[in-house]
Protein backbone atom coordinates (compact mmCIF):
# COMPACT_ATOMS: atom_id res chain seq x y z
CA UNK A 1 0.00 0.00 0.00
CA UNK A 2 1.40 3.41 -0.90
CA UNK A 3 2.00 5.92 1.90
CA UNK A 4 0.31 8.72 -0.02
CA UNK A 5 -2.12 8.62 -2.89
CA UNK A 6 -3.74 11.45 -4.81
CA UNK A 7 -7.08 10.37 -6.30
CA UNK A 8 -8.32 12.57 -9.12
CA UNK A 9 -7.40 15.70 -7.20
CA UNK A 10 -8.57 19.02 -8.54
CA UNK A 11 -7.80 22.53 -7.33
CA UNK A 12 -9.50 25.59 -8.76
CA UNK A 13 -8.61 29.08 -7.65
CA UNK A 14 -11.10 31.91 -7.97
CA UNK A 15 -9.73 35.36 -8.68
CA UNK A 16 -11.14 38.54 -7.12
CA UNK A 17 -12.97 39.17 -10.40
CA UNK A 18 -14.68 35.80 -10.00
CA UNK A 19 -12.74 34.06 -12.76
CA UNK A 20 -11.97 30.41 -12.08
CA UNK A 21 -8.49 29.07 -12.72
CA UNK A 22 -8.20 25.28 -12.62
CA UNK A 23 -4.58 24.82 -11.49
CA UNK A 24 -4.63 21.03 -11.35
CA UNK A 25 -7.27 18.58 -12.57
CA UNK A 26 -7.46 14.78 -12.44
CA UNK A 27 -4.18 14.73 -10.62
CA UNK A 28 -3.35 11.21 -9.51
CA UNK A 29 -0.10 9.82 -8.18
CA UNK A 30 1.08 7.40 -5.52
CA UNK A 31 4.13 7.73 -3.30
CA UNK A 32 5.59 4.65 -1.64
CA UNK A 33 6.99 4.43 1.86
CA UNK A 34 10.65 5.43 1.99
CA UNK A 35 10.87 6.70 -1.55
CA UNK A 36 12.29 9.96 -2.80
CA UNK A 37 9.68 11.29 -5.19
CA UNK A 38 10.46 14.35 -7.30
CA UNK A 39 7.65 16.31 -8.82
CA UNK A 40 9.07 18.13 -11.81
CA UNK A 41 7.32 20.68 -13.95
CA UNK A 42 7.57 24.04 -15.69
CA UNK A 43 6.89 27.14 -13.65
CA UNK A 44 3.23 27.81 -12.99
CA UNK A 45 2.23 24.17 -13.51
CA UNK A 46 0.77 23.76 -10.05
CA UNK A 47 3.60 21.81 -8.36
CA UNK A 48 3.43 23.98 -5.27
CA UNK A 49 -0.37 23.69 -5.24
CA UNK A 50 0.03 19.91 -5.01
CA UNK A 51 2.45 20.28 -2.11
CA UNK A 52 0.22 22.74 -0.28
CA UNK A 53 -2.71 20.36 -0.55
CA UNK A 54 -0.71 17.42 0.76
CA UNK A 55 0.69 19.57 3.57
CA UNK A 56 -2.89 20.43 4.49
CA UNK A 57 -2.52 24.18 3.97
CA UNK A 58 -5.12 24.14 1.20
CA UNK A 59 -8.04 21.78 0.57
CA UNK A 60 -8.63 20.21 -2.86
CA UNK A 61 -11.70 21.44 -4.75
CA UNK A 62 -12.45 17.84 -5.72
CA UNK A 63 -10.88 14.42 -5.31
CA UNK A 64 -9.07 13.06 -2.31
CA UNK A 65 -5.59 12.82 -0.85
CA UNK A 66 -5.07 9.80 1.36
CA UNK A 67 -2.12 9.22 3.66
CA UNK A 68 -1.80 6.02 5.68
CA UNK A 69 -5.38 5.12 4.85
CA UNK A 70 -6.77 8.42 6.18
CA UNK A 71 -7.82 11.44 4.13
CA UNK A 72 -5.70 14.56 4.60
CA UNK A 73 -7.81 17.27 6.22
CA UNK A 74 -5.28 19.73 7.59
CA UNK A 75 -1.65 20.32 8.57
CA UNK A 76 -0.13 17.65 10.76
CA UNK A 77 3.25 16.77 12.21
CA UNK A 78 3.15 13.64 10.04
CA UNK A 79 4.14 15.85 7.12
CA UNK A 80 7.04 18.20 7.77
CA UNK A 81 7.51 21.01 5.26
CA UNK A 82 10.73 22.64 4.05
CA UNK A 83 9.88 25.94 2.37
CA UNK A 84 11.66 27.62 -0.50
CA UNK A 85 12.47 30.88 1.27
CA UNK A 86 13.77 31.51 4.76
CA UNK A 87 10.68 33.36 6.03
CA UNK A 88 9.46 30.26 7.84
CA UNK A 89 12.35 30.36 10.32
CA UNK A 90 11.83 32.05 13.66
CA UNK A 91 14.20 34.98 13.77
CA UNK A 92 13.92 35.38 17.55
CA UNK A 93 15.13 31.83 18.17
CA UNK A 94 18.68 30.52 17.76
CA UNK A 95 19.46 27.76 15.28
CA UNK A 96 19.12 25.03 17.88
CA UNK A 97 15.93 26.55 19.30
CA UNK A 98 14.44 26.59 15.81
CA UNK A 99 15.34 22.93 15.38
CA UNK A 100 13.78 21.87 18.68
CA UNK A 101 10.59 23.90 18.10
CA UNK A 102 8.39 20.90 17.29
CA UNK A 103 9.71 18.93 20.26
CA UNK A 104 9.08 21.90 22.53
CA UNK A 105 5.49 22.11 21.31
CA UNK A 106 5.10 18.48 22.39
CA UNK A 107 6.60 19.23 25.82
CA UNK A 108 9.65 17.01 25.36
CA UNK A 109 12.01 17.64 28.30
CA UNK A 110 14.63 20.28 27.67
CA UNK A 111 17.70 18.06 27.99
CA UNK A 112 16.26 15.44 25.67
CA UNK A 113 15.07 17.85 23.00
CA UNK A 114 18.37 19.72 23.05
CA UNK A 115 20.20 16.44 22.53
CA UNK A 116 17.97 15.46 19.62
CA UNK A 117 18.19 18.92 18.07
CA UNK A 118 21.98 18.82 18.28
CA UNK A 119 21.98 15.39 16.64
CA UNK A 120 20.07 16.71 13.65
CA UNK A 121 22.13 19.90 13.47
CA UNK A 122 25.15 17.64 13.25
CA UNK A 123 23.46 15.60 10.53
CA UNK A 124 23.00 18.72 8.40
CA UNK A 125 26.54 19.91 9.20
CA UNK A 126 25.72 22.86 11.47
CA UNK A 127 26.97 21.74 14.88
CA UNK A 128 29.11 24.76 15.70
CA UNK A 129 26.46 27.28 14.65
CA UNK A 130 23.75 26.29 17.11
CA UNK A 131 23.75 29.55 19.06
CA UNK A 132 23.48 31.83 16.05
CA UNK A 133 20.27 33.51 14.99
CA UNK A 134 18.96 32.90 11.44
CA UNK A 135 19.85 36.47 10.43
CA UNK A 136 23.51 35.66 11.14
CA UNK A 137 23.54 32.64 8.82
CA UNK A 138 23.91 32.27 5.06
CA UNK A 139 21.12 31.11 2.74
CA UNK A 140 22.45 27.56 2.59
CA UNK A 141 22.77 27.36 6.37
CA UNK A 142 19.20 28.60 6.82
CA UNK A 143 17.92 25.83 4.56
CA UNK A 144 19.95 23.34 6.62
CA UNK A 145 18.19 24.62 9.75
CA UNK A 146 14.84 24.12 8.05
CA UNK A 147 15.77 20.55 7.12
CA UNK A 148 17.08 19.81 10.63
CA UNK A 149 13.95 21.36 12.17
CA UNK A 150 11.71 19.06 10.16
CA UNK A 151 13.85 15.94 10.70
CA UNK A 152 14.07 16.51 14.47
CA UNK A 153 10.29 16.37 14.57
CA UNK A 154 10.44 12.87 13.01
CA UNK A 155 7.58 13.17 10.54
CA UNK A 156 6.36 10.26 8.44
CA UNK A 157 7.14 12.29 5.38
CA UNK A 158 9.13 15.30 4.21
CA UNK A 159 7.61 17.83 1.81
CA UNK A 160 10.20 20.05 0.15
CA UNK A 161 9.09 22.98 -1.96
CA UNK A 162 12.03 23.90 -4.20
CA UNK A 163 14.20 24.21 -1.09
CA UNK A 164 17.42 24.98 -2.98
CA UNK A 165 16.03 27.18 -5.74
CA UNK A 166 17.15 30.41 -4.06
CA UNK A 167 20.72 29.23 -3.45
CA UNK A 168 23.76 29.84 -5.64
CA UNK A 169 24.78 27.01 -7.95
CA UNK A 170 27.72 25.76 -5.85
CA UNK A 171 25.77 25.72 -2.61
CA UNK A 172 22.85 24.09 -4.38
CA UNK A 173 24.82 21.14 -5.70
CA UNK A 174 26.50 20.71 -2.30
CA UNK A 175 23.11 20.71 -0.60
CA UNK A 176 21.80 18.16 -3.10
CA UNK A 177 24.64 15.77 -2.27
CA UNK A 178 24.04 16.25 1.45
CA UNK A 179 20.31 15.74 1.12
CA UNK A 180 20.92 12.53 -0.83
CA UNK A 181 23.18 11.34 2.00
CA UNK A 182 20.63 12.30 4.65
CA UNK A 183 17.96 10.40 2.76
CA UNK A 184 20.27 7.37 2.53
CA UNK A 185 20.65 7.40 6.34
CA UNK A 186 17.11 8.28 7.41
CA UNK A 187 15.09 6.71 4.58
CA UNK A 188 12.28 9.16 5.21
CA UNK A 189 9.68 9.41 2.47
CA UNK A 190 10.24 12.65 0.52
CA UNK A 191 8.12 14.62 -1.89
CA UNK A 192 10.51 17.05 -3.55
CA UNK A 193 9.20 19.82 -5.79
CA UNK A 194 11.55 21.22 -8.43
CA UNK A 195 11.66 22.76 -11.89
CA UNK A 196 15.26 21.66 -12.37
CA UNK A 197 15.72 18.42 -14.38
CA UNK A 198 19.28 18.01 -13.15
CA UNK A 199 18.12 18.24 -9.54
CA UNK A 200 15.31 15.75 -10.14
CA UNK A 201 17.64 13.20 -11.75
CA UNK A 202 20.26 13.72 -9.04
CA UNK A 203 17.84 13.16 -6.17
CA UNK A 204 14.75 11.32 -7.30
CA UNK A 205 14.03 7.62 -7.07
CA UNK A 206 11.01 8.37 -9.18
CA UNK A 207 10.27 11.57 -11.07
CA UNK A 208 6.72 12.68 -11.76
CA UNK A 209 6.75 14.99 -14.79
CA UNK A 210 3.86 17.45 -14.84
CA UNK A 211 2.07 19.01 -17.75
CA UNK A 212 1.94 22.79 -18.17
CA UNK A 213 -0.98 24.47 -16.39
CA UNK A 214 -3.89 25.11 -16.33
CA UNK A 215 -5.55 21.72 -15.69
CA UNK A 216 -2.17 20.26 -14.95
CA UNK A 217 -1.66 16.59 -14.15
CA UNK A 218 1.10 14.03 -14.16
CA UNK A 219 2.25 13.38 -17.70
CA UNK A 220 4.36 10.40 -16.76
CA UNK A 221 6.51 8.92 -14.03
CA UNK A 222 10.15 8.04 -14.65
CA UNK A 223 11.81 5.49 -12.43
CA UNK A 224 15.50 6.32 -11.94
CA UNK A 225 17.40 3.07 -11.56
CA UNK A 226 20.62 4.65 -10.32
CA UNK A 227 22.09 3.45 -7.03
CA UNK A 228 24.54 5.09 -4.69
CA UNK A 229 26.18 8.40 -5.51
CA UNK A 230 25.05 9.85 -8.82
CA UNK A 231 27.36 11.69 -11.13
CA UNK A 232 26.30 14.21 -13.73
CA UNK A 233 28.91 12.87 -16.12
CA UNK A 234 27.68 9.26 -16.08
CA UNK A 235 26.21 8.03 -19.33
CA UNK A 236 23.19 6.57 -17.57
CA UNK A 237 22.61 9.86 -15.75
CA UNK A 238 22.69 11.70 -19.07
CA UNK A 239 20.27 9.22 -20.61
CA UNK A 240 17.78 9.86 -17.82
CA UNK A 241 18.36 13.58 -18.18
CA UNK A 242 17.64 13.38 -21.91
CA UNK A 243 14.57 11.22 -21.40
CA UNK A 244 13.06 13.61 -18.83
CA UNK A 245 14.09 16.61 -20.88
CA UNK A 246 12.19 15.30 -23.90
CA UNK A 247 9.11 14.73 -21.74
CA UNK A 248 9.15 18.21 -20.33
CA UNK A 249 10.33 20.22 -23.35
CA UNK A 250 6.88 20.63 -24.92
CA UNK A 251 5.36 21.47 -21.56
CA UNK A 252 7.86 24.26 -20.96
CA UNK A 253 7.12 25.63 -24.43
CA UNK A 254 3.38 25.55 -23.73
CA UNK A 255 3.85 27.16 -20.37
CA UNK A 256 5.86 29.99 -21.89
CA UNK A 257 3.37 30.45 -24.75
CA UNK A 258 0.45 30.64 -22.30
CA UNK A 259 2.19 33.08 -20.03
CA UNK A 260 2.74 35.22 -23.15
CA UNK A 261 6.27 36.14 -22.16
CA UNK A 262 9.79 34.80 -22.80
Amino acid sequence: MPLVSFHDVEKTYRSLQGVDYPAVEHFSVEIEVGEFFCLLGPSGCGKTTVLKMLAGFEAPTAGQIVMDGRPVTGASRDRGVVFQGDDSLYGWLTAVENVEFGLRMRHVRKAERRERAMHYLELVGLMSQERKYPAELSGGMKQRIQIARVLANEPKMLLMDEPFAALDAQTRSLMQIELANIWQTTRTTVLFITHDIDEAVTLGKRIGVMRAGPRSQVKGVVEVALHGARSRTDDVFLQYYKHVYEMIRDEVAKSIARAGAP
Binding site: G74, R79, S88, L89, G91
Partner: protein, 261 residues
Protein backbone atom coordinates in the same frame (compact mmCIF):
# COMPACT_ATOMS: atom_id res chain seq x y z
CA UNK B 1 42.27 42.07 17.74
CA UNK B 2 43.97 43.82 20.64
CA UNK B 3 42.06 46.80 21.85
CA UNK B 4 44.01 49.13 24.12
CA UNK B 5 42.85 52.18 26.07
CA UNK B 6 43.18 54.21 22.90
CA UNK B 7 40.86 51.83 21.05
CA UNK B 8 38.24 52.01 23.81
CA UNK B 9 38.39 55.80 23.83
CA UNK B 10 38.00 55.84 20.08
CA UNK B 11 34.98 53.58 20.33
CA UNK B 12 33.32 55.83 22.94
CA UNK B 13 34.11 58.80 20.74
CA UNK B 14 32.63 57.18 17.63
CA UNK B 15 29.41 56.47 19.55
CA UNK B 16 28.98 59.68 21.51
CA UNK B 17 31.28 62.11 19.73
CA UNK B 18 28.64 63.22 17.25
CA UNK B 19 26.10 63.82 20.00
CA UNK B 20 28.59 65.80 22.05
CA UNK B 21 29.49 68.09 19.15
CA UNK B 22 25.81 68.44 18.23
CA UNK B 23 24.72 69.47 21.70
CA UNK B 24 27.65 71.81 22.26
CA UNK B 25 27.03 73.55 18.93
CA UNK B 26 23.30 73.84 19.71
CA UNK B 27 23.99 75.68 22.96
CA UNK B 28 26.79 77.71 21.41
CA UNK B 29 24.55 78.99 18.62
CA UNK B 30 21.82 79.74 21.14
CA UNK B 31 24.31 81.64 23.33
CA UNK B 32 25.61 83.70 20.42
CA UNK B 33 22.13 84.35 19.07
CA UNK B 34 20.78 85.61 22.37
CA UNK B 35 23.84 87.76 23.08
CA UNK B 36 24.40 89.34 19.66
CA UNK B 37 21.42 88.74 17.39
CA UNK B 38 18.26 89.07 19.51
CA UNK B 39 19.64 90.66 22.58
CA UNK B 40 16.52 90.81 24.72
CA UNK B 41 15.28 89.76 28.16
CA UNK B 42 12.66 87.74 26.31
CA UNK B 43 15.37 85.42 24.89
CA UNK B 44 17.77 84.48 27.71
CA UNK B 45 21.09 82.83 26.82
CA UNK B 46 21.71 79.24 27.94
CA UNK B 47 24.11 80.36 30.70
CA UNK B 48 21.29 82.27 32.38
CA UNK B 49 18.83 79.44 31.83
CA UNK B 50 21.20 76.85 33.26
CA UNK B 51 22.01 78.85 36.37
CA UNK B 52 18.30 79.39 36.90
CA UNK B 53 17.71 75.70 36.31
CA UNK B 54 20.39 74.83 38.85
CA UNK B 55 18.71 77.06 41.42
CA UNK B 56 15.36 75.41 40.74
CA UNK B 57 16.94 72.01 41.15
CA UNK B 58 18.49 73.03 44.48
CA UNK B 59 15.25 74.33 45.96
CA UNK B 60 13.44 71.26 44.67
CA UNK B 61 10.89 73.09 42.50
CA UNK B 62 12.07 71.71 39.17
CA UNK B 63 12.25 68.11 40.36
CA UNK B 64 8.78 68.40 41.86
CA UNK B 65 7.30 69.51 38.53
CA UNK B 66 9.38 67.00 36.63
CA UNK B 67 8.28 64.15 38.90
CA UNK B 68 4.63 65.19 38.57
CA UNK B 69 4.74 65.15 34.76
CA UNK B 70 6.80 61.99 34.55
CA UNK B 71 4.51 60.11 36.90
CA UNK B 72 1.47 60.97 34.82
CA UNK B 73 3.19 60.00 31.60
CA UNK B 74 4.36 56.66 32.97
CA UNK B 75 1.03 55.75 34.58
CA UNK B 76 -0.95 56.56 31.44
CA UNK B 77 1.64 55.13 29.08
CA UNK B 78 1.85 51.80 30.90
CA UNK B 79 -1.94 51.52 31.27
CA UNK B 80 -2.49 52.51 27.63
CA UNK B 81 0.07 49.97 26.40
CA UNK B 82 -1.33 47.19 28.60
CA UNK B 83 -4.77 47.85 27.13
CA UNK B 84 -3.61 48.49 23.58
CA UNK B 85 -1.41 45.40 23.10
CA UNK B 86 -4.13 42.75 23.70
CA UNK B 87 -6.69 44.75 21.71
CA UNK B 88 -4.24 45.10 18.82
CA UNK B 89 -3.37 41.40 18.95
CA UNK B 90 -7.05 40.46 18.89
CA UNK B 91 -7.74 42.86 16.02
CA UNK B 92 -4.82 41.54 14.02
CA UNK B 93 -5.68 37.89 14.66
CA UNK B 94 -9.45 37.80 14.25
CA UNK B 95 -11.28 39.42 11.36
CA UNK B 96 -14.61 39.82 13.22
CA UNK B 97 -12.86 41.60 16.09
CA UNK B 98 -11.16 43.92 13.62
CA UNK B 99 -14.42 44.71 11.84
CA UNK B 100 -16.08 45.36 15.19
CA UNK B 101 -13.38 47.58 16.67
CA UNK B 102 -12.14 49.38 13.58
CA UNK B 103 -14.91 52.00 13.70
CA UNK B 104 -13.78 52.90 17.22
CA UNK B 105 -10.09 53.10 16.45
CA UNK B 106 -10.52 54.75 13.05
CA UNK B 107 -12.91 57.36 14.45
CA UNK B 108 -11.26 58.12 17.76
CA UNK B 109 -7.69 58.27 16.59
CA UNK B 110 -8.50 61.36 14.50
CA UNK B 111 -9.72 63.26 17.54
CA UNK B 112 -6.49 64.65 18.94
CA UNK B 113 -5.90 64.09 22.62
CA UNK B 114 -5.38 67.84 22.99
CA UNK B 115 -9.01 68.30 21.92
CA UNK B 116 -10.06 65.77 24.53
CA UNK B 117 -8.61 67.92 27.34
CA UNK B 118 -11.89 69.78 27.55
CA UNK B 119 -14.05 66.75 28.30
CA UNK B 120 -11.31 65.06 30.33
CA UNK B 121 -11.30 67.98 32.76
CA UNK B 122 -15.09 68.02 32.94
CA UNK B 123 -15.23 64.27 33.55
CA UNK B 124 -12.23 63.73 35.81
CA UNK B 125 -11.47 67.16 37.28
CA UNK B 126 -8.10 68.87 37.19
CA UNK B 127 -6.38 66.17 39.29
CA UNK B 128 -4.42 63.13 38.19
CA UNK B 129 -7.45 61.39 36.71
CA UNK B 130 -7.83 63.66 33.69
CA UNK B 131 -4.09 63.61 32.89
CA UNK B 132 -3.80 59.84 33.08
CA UNK B 133 -6.94 59.49 30.97
CA UNK B 134 -5.43 61.73 28.32
CA UNK B 135 -2.13 59.86 28.23
CA UNK B 136 -3.98 56.55 27.96
CA UNK B 137 -6.03 58.06 25.15
CA UNK B 138 -2.95 59.29 23.31
CA UNK B 139 -1.10 55.98 23.80
CA UNK B 140 -3.69 53.34 23.15
CA UNK B 141 -4.51 53.95 19.46
CA UNK B 142 -0.93 54.05 18.26
CA UNK B 143 -0.15 50.88 20.19
CA UNK B 144 -3.29 49.15 18.86
CA UNK B 145 -2.60 50.10 15.24
CA UNK B 146 1.04 49.08 15.33
CA UNK B 147 0.33 45.81 17.11
CA UNK B 148 -2.46 44.89 14.66
CA UNK B 149 -0.22 45.82 11.71
CA UNK B 150 2.50 43.64 13.20
CA UNK B 151 0.20 40.64 13.44
CA UNK B 152 -0.94 40.96 9.84
CA UNK B 153 2.68 41.34 8.68
CA UNK B 154 3.64 37.88 9.96
CA UNK B 155 4.87 35.72 7.06
CA UNK B 156 2.22 33.01 6.43
CA UNK B 157 4.99 30.42 6.18
CA UNK B 158 5.91 31.02 9.84
CA UNK B 159 2.40 29.95 10.83
CA UNK B 160 2.34 27.07 8.33
CA UNK B 161 5.70 25.76 9.54
CA UNK B 162 4.38 25.74 13.12
CA UNK B 163 1.21 23.94 12.03
CA UNK B 164 3.11 21.19 10.30
CA UNK B 165 5.48 20.89 13.26
CA UNK B 166 2.44 20.04 15.36
CA UNK B 167 1.78 23.30 17.21
CA UNK B 168 -1.75 23.97 18.46
CA UNK B 169 -3.56 27.25 17.79
CA UNK B 170 -2.73 28.53 21.27
CA UNK B 171 0.91 27.55 20.85
CA UNK B 172 1.07 29.32 17.51
CA UNK B 173 -0.22 32.47 19.18
CA UNK B 174 2.24 32.41 22.10
CA UNK B 175 5.29 31.01 20.33
CA UNK B 176 4.97 32.51 16.84
CA UNK B 177 2.47 35.35 16.47
CA UNK B 178 3.36 37.19 19.67
CA UNK B 179 7.16 37.15 19.36
CA UNK B 180 6.93 38.02 15.66
CA UNK B 181 4.88 41.10 16.63
CA UNK B 182 7.20 42.37 19.38
CA UNK B 183 9.19 44.80 17.18
CA UNK B 184 5.96 46.41 15.98
CA UNK B 185 4.60 46.69 19.53
CA UNK B 186 7.80 48.35 20.72
CA UNK B 187 7.78 50.78 17.80
CA UNK B 188 4.17 51.70 18.60
CA UNK B 189 5.09 52.26 22.24
CA UNK B 190 8.02 54.44 21.29
CA UNK B 191 5.82 56.64 19.10
CA UNK B 192 3.19 56.76 21.83
CA UNK B 193 5.80 57.92 24.32
CA UNK B 194 6.68 60.87 22.09
CA UNK B 195 3.01 61.80 21.81
CA UNK B 196 2.58 61.53 25.56
CA UNK B 197 5.01 64.41 26.01
CA UNK B 198 2.95 66.67 23.79
CA UNK B 199 -0.27 65.73 25.49
CA UNK B 200 0.92 66.08 29.06
CA UNK B 201 2.28 69.58 28.49
CA UNK B 202 -0.93 70.68 26.80
CA UNK B 203 -3.04 69.22 29.59
CA UNK B 204 -0.93 70.80 32.31
CA UNK B 205 -0.98 74.16 30.52
CA UNK B 206 -4.74 74.20 30.73
CA UNK B 207 -5.48 72.59 34.05
CA UNK B 208 -2.99 71.41 36.64
CA UNK B 209 -1.49 72.27 39.99
CA UNK B 210 1.99 71.09 39.12
CA UNK B 211 4.04 69.63 36.30
CA UNK B 212 6.28 71.07 33.60
CA UNK B 213 3.29 72.46 31.69
CA UNK B 214 2.10 74.28 34.79
CA UNK B 215 5.60 75.70 35.18
CA UNK B 216 5.40 77.02 31.61
CA UNK B 217 2.02 78.58 32.26
CA UNK B 218 3.16 80.25 35.49
CA UNK B 219 6.22 81.53 33.70
CA UNK B 220 4.00 83.21 31.14
CA UNK B 221 1.64 84.53 33.82
CA UNK B 222 4.38 86.13 35.91
CA UNK B 223 6.70 86.95 32.99
CA UNK B 224 9.40 84.61 34.32
CA UNK B 225 11.03 84.03 30.93
CA UNK B 226 13.96 82.16 32.51
CA UNK B 227 11.61 79.63 34.04
CA UNK B 228 9.83 79.10 30.74
CA UNK B 229 13.16 78.27 29.15
CA UNK B 230 14.16 75.98 32.02
CA UNK B 231 10.92 74.08 31.49
CA UNK B 232 11.43 73.88 27.71
CA UNK B 233 15.01 72.64 28.02
CA UNK B 234 13.92 70.09 30.63
CA UNK B 235 11.22 68.79 28.29
CA UNK B 236 13.68 68.46 25.46
CA UNK B 237 16.27 66.67 27.54
CA UNK B 238 13.71 64.43 29.20
CA UNK B 239 12.23 63.39 25.87
CA UNK B 240 15.67 62.77 24.46
CA UNK B 241 16.75 60.64 27.42
CA UNK B 242 13.50 58.61 27.55
CA UNK B 243 13.59 57.96 23.82
CA UNK B 244 17.24 56.88 23.98
CA UNK B 245 16.38 54.52 26.83
CA UNK B 246 13.58 53.07 24.72
CA UNK B 247 15.85 52.63 21.76
CA UNK B 248 18.48 51.09 23.95
CA UNK B 249 16.04 48.61 25.48
CA UNK B 250 14.66 47.71 22.05
CA UNK B 251 18.22 47.15 20.92
CA UNK B 252 19.34 45.08 23.92
CA UNK B 253 16.26 43.10 24.81
CA UNK B 254 14.64 42.80 21.43
CA UNK B 255 17.49 43.18 18.97
CA UNK B 256 17.06 39.56 17.98
CA UNK B 257 13.37 40.17 17.29
CA UNK B 258 14.49 41.94 14.18
CA UNK B 259 11.62 42.21 11.69
CA UNK B 260 13.97 41.20 8.87
CA UNK B 261 13.52 37.48 9.40
Amino acid sequence: MIRGAGGAARRVWSVYGGYAIGFVSLFLIWQLASLYVVSSVLFPPPTVVFSKGLRLVRNGVLLEHLAASLQRILAGFIAGSLLGIPIGLAMGSFRPVRKLLEPYTEFLRFIPSVAMITVAVIWFGIGEGSKIFLIIYTTIFIVILNTAAGVSAIAPNKIRAAQSLGATRAQIFWHVALPATVPYILTGMRLAMANSFTTIVAAELIAANDGLGKMLWDGRLFMLVDEIFVSLVTLGLLGFVVDRMFRWSIYTFAGKYSPAT
